[in-house]
């Protein structure tokens, strides 16, 4: 992947510890898919909503795995939570708003919210508010690839790919095939510029 290599060259050298690779990411997602089906006694009445950007692709993969197991096509939606952020007035640049595409009715469904990293919980708070503005789901569960701790709100995940205890000055970098050309989770010491 020439694009990634050249990008790496421009970044300052920093120690990255590989926590998950392609195989472990796939196994974690497969396990989560099974857990979702088990906890909800099947895949009927489910709806998957991925938080953009990487959570959206993870939700897409979960839908695929659930279909392979249960042969049920779970409705899939993508959400951009920018408009529901709590720090929008304090930022210098307004973040670019991406499209939210939730084409199915969330009312009375079991919604599985999917994101890559669970950190402060603020993104999830914004996503919960947005889902509830779309309708009244029966319940909402949260699936994340990585839980890195340091919550600032009383929020927890129902399905976790991997618990990674971190220090605040560390950065958890999730790369996924569809965006970054590879599946990996690494911890880096200093915050990326």
């Amino acid at each position: 992947m020439p694009f990634l290599e050249s990008e790496e060259e421009n970044l300052p050298r920093r120690k990255g510890v590989l926590i998950m690779d392609e195989k472990t990411v796939r196994r974690a997602l497969t396990r989560i898919a099974h857990e979702i089906i088990e906890r909800n006694k099947g895949a009927e009445n489910l709806g998957l909503i991925g938080i953009k950007t990487r959570g959206a692709y993870l939700a897409e993969r979960l839908a695929k795995i659930i279909f392979e197991i249960e042969e049920v096509q779970v409705p899939l939606g993508f959400m951009d939570i920018t408009l529901y952020r709590d720090d929008i007035q304090t930022k210098l640049d307004q973040p670019i708003v991406q499209k939210t595409e939730v084409m199915f009715d969330v009312a009375d469904k079991i919604i599985i919210l999917v994101d890559d990293v669970l950190f402060t919980g603020r993104t999830i708070r914004a996503a919960l508010d947005q889902i509830i503005d779309f309708g009244r789901p029966k319940l909402i569960q949260l699936a994340v690839l990585v839980d890195r701790g340091h919550r600032e709100l009383p929020i927890r995940a129902d399905y976790i790919g991997k618990n990674i205890p971190t220090a605040l000055n560390e950065q958890v970098v999730v790369k996924i095939q569809e965006v970054d050309g590879e599946d990996s989770v690494t911890i880096e010491k200093e915050k990326r510029k």
Binding site: L83, Q89, V97
Partner: protein, 310 residues
């Protein structure tokens, strides 16, 4: 990517990338307007004043809805029911309003340059909602958005703006915006309603409508501003309708996939016949729908805080 200025005074000098950003953002907001709850909490705590010194239906309601759907606080002001009647100056009026702690001002005024004047005496963000014969940037943007929605790109479109170019802020904002986005623009109207040196804006100038329409993709029909026609610039409205009115006969000279636009309000039977205005090629009501999304995008992009980017 962000807007260079914290005010929107006109489309003159706004780059292609900035216009692209506003149009892309408006697409997101258009989706918000399709939701069961057409409201997002984005501008909670932001106070916007709508300062209207001139009559308006569409622009004013459109801004109001845009503000409400972003959860902003809003205050309406119209000159006719305020202390302007007692002789309070514009500067005193806005200074007093700003003293009540506001963040953004949307202003429409009969004098060109008023929004710029406000940027000099206030610290709020200023959005021009039409100033004299100068600019009406959100109208220009919503016209661009409507065209991009229909044709996928604006580059290469042939647009004819017909009517009272002299008094039209809509024409000026459209010309700036369309030229920046790569469309070719022509203006057409009676010589008395054509400003001097309009060709310097890089547009074709016609006084014969049929010539102007040849091969055009889009006709943007301007309103004959009856309130500004006291000076004998037109012999009669009937003569104008005959020479420059858009009727179904004239449309035969257009490309098959053409579009009729009008910023409203329509003088039916003067600049456009009812069957054209309500016909299949008209996007007049789409323009109005898109106006709310565009104004939400502008309010959102101009409302950034002063904190750090994460």
């Amino acid at each position: 990517m962000k807007l260079k200025s914290r005010h929107l005074l006109g489309l003159e000098g706004i780059s292609k990338e900035e216009i692209g950003l506003i149009l892309d953002t408006a697409e997101t907001f258009k989706e918000v307007l399709e939701r069961p709850i057409k409201k997002v909490p984005t501008l909670r705590g932001v106070t916007v004043v709508n300062l209207f010194y001139e009559a308006s239906t569409r622009t004013r309601i459109s801004f109001e809805l845009a503000e409400k759907r972003l959860s902003a606080e809003l205050v309406n002001f119209s000159a006719s029911t305020s202390s302007v009647k007692k002789g309070e100056t514009l500067k005193d009026t806005v200074k007093n309003i700003e003293a009540m702690k506001i963040d953004m001002v949307v202003i429409r005024h009969q004098s060109a340059g008023t929004p710029y004047f406000l940027t000099q005496c206030l610290s709020s963000s200023i959005i021009n909602a039409g100033d004299g014969a100068h600019e009406h940037p959100t109208q220009g943007l919503l016209d661009l958005f409507t065209l991009r929605e229909k044709y996928k790109k604006i580059e290469g479109l042939k647009v004819v703006i017909v009517g009272d170019i002299k008094h039209s802020r809509v024409a000026r904002s459209n010309i700036w915006g369309l030229k920046t986005m790569g469309a070719s623009v022509a203006v057409c109207g009676p010589t008395t309603l054509m400003p001097y040196e309009i060709d310097k804006m890089g547009v074709g100038v016609y006084s014969n409508l049929d010539e102007a329409l040849r091969g055009a993709d889009v006709v943007n029909v301007l309103r004959i501003q009856l309130e500004r026609q006291k000076g004998g610039l037109l012999p009669s409205l009937r003569e104008y309708a005959n020479e420059f009115g858009i009727n179904s006969d004239r449309l035969k000279r257009l490309n098959p996939n053409f579009t009729i636009m009008h910023p409203g309000p329509i003088n039916r039977g003067v600049e456009i016949t009812p069957e054209v205005a309500d016909g299949p090629y008209s996007v007049i009501l789409d323009q109005v729908t898109n106006g709310v999304a565009i104004r939400m995008a502008v309010l959102y992009l101009l409302s950034g805080g002063e904190g750090k980017v994460e």
